[in-house]
Symmetry: C2
Subunit: 574 residues, 2 copies
């Protein structure tokens, strides 16, 4: 027989109906001669009531068995207002087993403490838990919201190849040996960047795609070898147009998923301001604690740490409350990991000053600090002295760490910000030269069009990142469409004509055939979904993720293959 | 400045408005002192009119330049009713060049004769042609129709891994060497079959995905190394449920794209009937010409070819009209390619019989043939004598070839059919044993549940294919969910416990933890889009396809990589 309803569907309006349900046995309990069974499926839980007549049958049925019941919907005496079906139950008339279950290696319920590798080995059982199912349902809704938004805005979804060409710029490629072309390899795409720019040259006008991308990097908590991004590009469009389009889709998705209507325009901040105030380019704006420079304030100080700066700078944040010894030790550790060896501090309570630098502070300095940080209640100031980059980055990390310690990170609060005016180049210590900060097809800002290839250090890009709660959701740029400008860019980073031709001549040549100006953006959807669900890491929003060794503990992929497979591919292992 | 309208947007209601357009110069012609320019973008073409004052500026502007014009919408004198903008033109007041173009290697227009490799090298220009843009637009709409259908039906879209495990069953895998796990390889998925079945065990109930899949086979006209499929699976669902769901999405997509409302249920045909009447399992039902067996009709014949059958069988199709010598030669060639060495024929016109077997036909045989094939006008009967499999397959190919010769294949006519009751096993000459015809997780039909593992030859499967105009659009089955039944299946095809454990133990074990009964299906979307657009092959509906050597002539992928890349992956070429 087929089910007449799912386990999340019946309510008080169905009372009196005869129904058939099918689902998993989640819980069984006996009370006053009756047996109550929670029957579960993706849609919810429905309570079954069975009389003593079913006791023999029930003795064969265990947790996680798949069963079918026929019965009548009746009103419950003790209602459960927490669930949609909580006002009714099913008076069972027939019960049968569809499929049996062995004892599961962990209980199928939310908030389990099971070790992650066990959860990954039995991922199909882990995905039976409502919180994991919710993560996947949200992900599906997110994709649907995003796609319909772009379709409504006249974008067309176009698939780009998974089998591409390896290019030396960027991260490490995954390679696929070609059987039909011995010695040759496809590369899996790190992004569809070049293809989407070609679509603009084709006049396809507005392109989007939700697409798997691949980077062979060492894995970290928020990295997977394969990841999913929303990719888009639009023609006759500058940075503003692309940012507005992305702002629209991010807000719509947040509205559709969280019911939060973010009406105001997303705040904008230059890269310089972000680095100055927050020590990074992805500030979490759910809390303040901005970094201040105190060189002037301490220009006549007696604090030894703050004297004889020699190119270093004094920077500090002021946090609410009095941090205890353990907290200060943890924060010092964070500072050290970021090359800041001393994290000095001063605590202020009722005008009493204490802490590592307090005794040497002059009254004027104390007054100035109170004014600078607008201190009106118990507070702790955390100081660092190092060169500007190092101390800023370190205090940025300390700032985020404080927020964790103080529980300031409410996942239900969503703070978006655009970071703009990125540096066009960054200096590579490894290669001892300037390289493109984003990629070499990024348009310089209007203000540096004349001298970006002379004054590389100060050149800014028409590039933008969108940041949500301290995570980079994604970013993009306006692209170079003028072949002469492109040539100046290659010259600036020291790419010879031969190198350009060998690596992406096929791409650069396309701009000789009439290109519109165009801009685009890409968003990391694993991360967006993680933030929308409040999940702890991206593996929680991926059905079958890899662990930190790049292994799927369920299938044991990657694995050994046969010698004949390698022979056919013209390779051998070593 | 930004465009105020696209090139496909302006019509008689806009007359008098000042507009800004941006697009590509498609055509320039002079007439009576005026210059007319067709300005093109993805949305259409708008005619510009320029007075003599612009002649100098116009002399700098060539085909495929990207330009911007400011002007006023005016009503055309000679209207072009074929295009949406054909009643208006733009009286240009300002014109400027956004981007220049070299002379393109082929003209940007439909129906070009350019060689395919040139089109692929300059794919970004090929995609500028309206017919190619239409193919991609249809593809985007198709995807959107499909996805919204499944979302409306409570399916959730879940992504499955691209990095999976190689399994020995099925086609050849593409492999990806793992840097972090020396000697080990990921395999790219041939389909998400096992993952989607696990989703059902997880209770996710209804899953779908539009997903790239990979098979390392030798390429043919309708094959690419990477292809896209719609994949779906549903729980508490048998074959009928899955077929109904797929029938719904196929009809909805055809309605959305072609405007054709297929109201009747899709015809069903058993695999046996299809093979008997059409010589294959993907009959093109846009025309008749069914195959008939004539052993009985010729039981006392004097035709030498039809005597002394010795296990062979006489089969024939009757086609309208009198095939000429050249056509008959071509059809004989097709028969030979399919191991049928003699394609005999008889032509009938006004009761006159001619052709290779005509002289020996008795009057009774002629009468019986007229009755069997219901002949009332000029016709040609094509006969073959061979064992049942060979002659049926060969006549199936001949039948399709006739339809091409006779122009019976109207791409606007869409004939769908479900093929059901597939054989559960097929005999592998190579391995000298029965193997699973589909995959070893396919449910046997109810009628052979008791003896499918004894009488393998006659065992049928709960499997189904959907066929459109002679192409297999896709197929699926109900799956085995009972571990004991699964074990019988493995025993039937001679897989030992050790082989099962090593290859998909992780998968089979999952069915010990409570599975719903479930069914699913997958559709090939490259092919579906080809049929929806009337394109000649699947490369026409793929933005950047590979050629028949698996090469992208634009990027030159696959290509050589550096020694250090291979070192890092612990492999070398040989």
């Amino acid at each position: 027989m087929k089910r007449t309803h799912t386990c999340g569907e019946l309510n008080i309006s169905n009372v009196g109906q005869n129904v058939i349900l099918q689902g998993w046995v989640a819980k069984v309990r006996k009370m006053g001669g009756l047996t109550f069974v929670d029957l579960r499926d993706r849609y919810g839980i429905t309570q079954l009531v069975l009389s003593e007549a079913f006791n023999e049958k029930l003795s064969e049925i265990k947790s996680e068995y798949v069963i079918e019941v026929h019965g009548k919907v009746i009103e419950r005496k003790s209602k459960n207002k927490d669930i949609a079906t909580g006002e009714v139950e099913i008076e069972v008339e027939e019960i049968s087993t569809i499929n049996k279950s062995k004892l599961t290696p962990f209980e199928i319920k939310d908030g389990i403490e099971s070790n992650e590798d066990t959860r990954l080995v039995y991922r199909y059982l882990d995905l039976r838990r409502p919180e994991m199912q919710n993560n996947l349902v949200v992900r599906s809704k997110m994709n649907n919201s995003i796609r319909n938004y772009f379709v409504e805005n006249n974008f067309i979804e176009i698939e780009t190849p998974i089998f591409g060409k390896s290019t030396p710029e960027g991260a490490r490629d995954f390679l696929v040996p070609s059987r039909l072309n011995p010695q040759k390899f496809y590369a899996l795409p790190q992004s569809p960047q070049l293809y989407k720019q070609l679509f603009m040259i084709s006049g396809l006008d507005r392109y989007f795609q939700i697409v798997k991308c691949f980077r062979d990097e060492d894995l970290r908590i928020d990295r997977q070898p394969e990841f999913t991004q929303l990719d888009m590009e639009m023609s006759f469009a500058d940075s503003e147009d692309a940012m507005n389009m992305i702002e629209g889709v991010v807000k719509k998705t947040i509205l559709d998923i969280k019911g939060i209507d973010l009406k105001e325009s997303i705040q904008r901040m230059t890269w310089k301001e972000s680095f100055d105030k927050y020590g990074n380019d992805k500030p979490d704006l759910r809390f303040g604690y901005e970094i201040n420079t105190l060189d002037e304030l301490f220009s006549n100080t007696e604090v030894p740490l703050f004297s004889n700066l020699e190119g270093k700078t004094i920077r500090a944040i002021c946090v609410e409350g009095l941090l205890n010894k353990k907290e200060l030790e943890q924060l010092s550790e964070t500072a050290k990991q970021n090359s800041l060896n001393i994290l000095a501090f001063a605590k202020i309570t009722n005008n009493e000053w204490s802490g590592s630098v307090a005794s040497k502070l002059s009254e004027t300095e104390k007054e100035s600090l109170i004014k600078t940080f607008n201190i009106s209640k118990d507070s702790t100031i955390l100081f660092g002295v190092e060169n500007y980059e190092v101390v800023s980055k370190a205090l940025g990390s300390v700032r985020n760490h404080v927020a964790k310690l103080q529980n300031l990170l409410n996942p239900e609060e969503l703070k978006l910000v655009w970071i703009t005016n990125f540096p066009l180049f960054e200096f590579s210590e490894e290669e001892n030269r300037f390289v493109a900060a984003h990629h070499p097809f990024t348009m310089p800002s209007d203000g540096c069009l004349d001298d970006f290839d002379v004054n590389l250090k100060d050149a800014e890009a028409k590039a933008y990142d969108i940041v949500l709660n301290g995570f980079e959701l994604g970013g993009g740029s306006q692209r170079i469409t003028d072949p002469q400008l492109q040539q100046r860019m290659f010259d600036a980073i020291g790419l010879s004509k031969e190198q350009v031709e060998a690596n992406f001549g096929w791409f650069v040549n396309a701009y000789n055939y009439g290109a519109p100006y165009h801009s685009g953006c890409a968003l990391g959807l694993d991360r967006f979904c993680m933030l929308l669900t409040g999940a702890e890491n991206i593996r929680e929003v991926i059905a079958f993720p890899k662990n930190s060794s790049g292994v799927d503990p369920m299938t044991n992929a990657p694995d050994l293959v046969t010698a004949s497979q390698l022979d056919e591919l013209h390779i051998k292992t070593k």
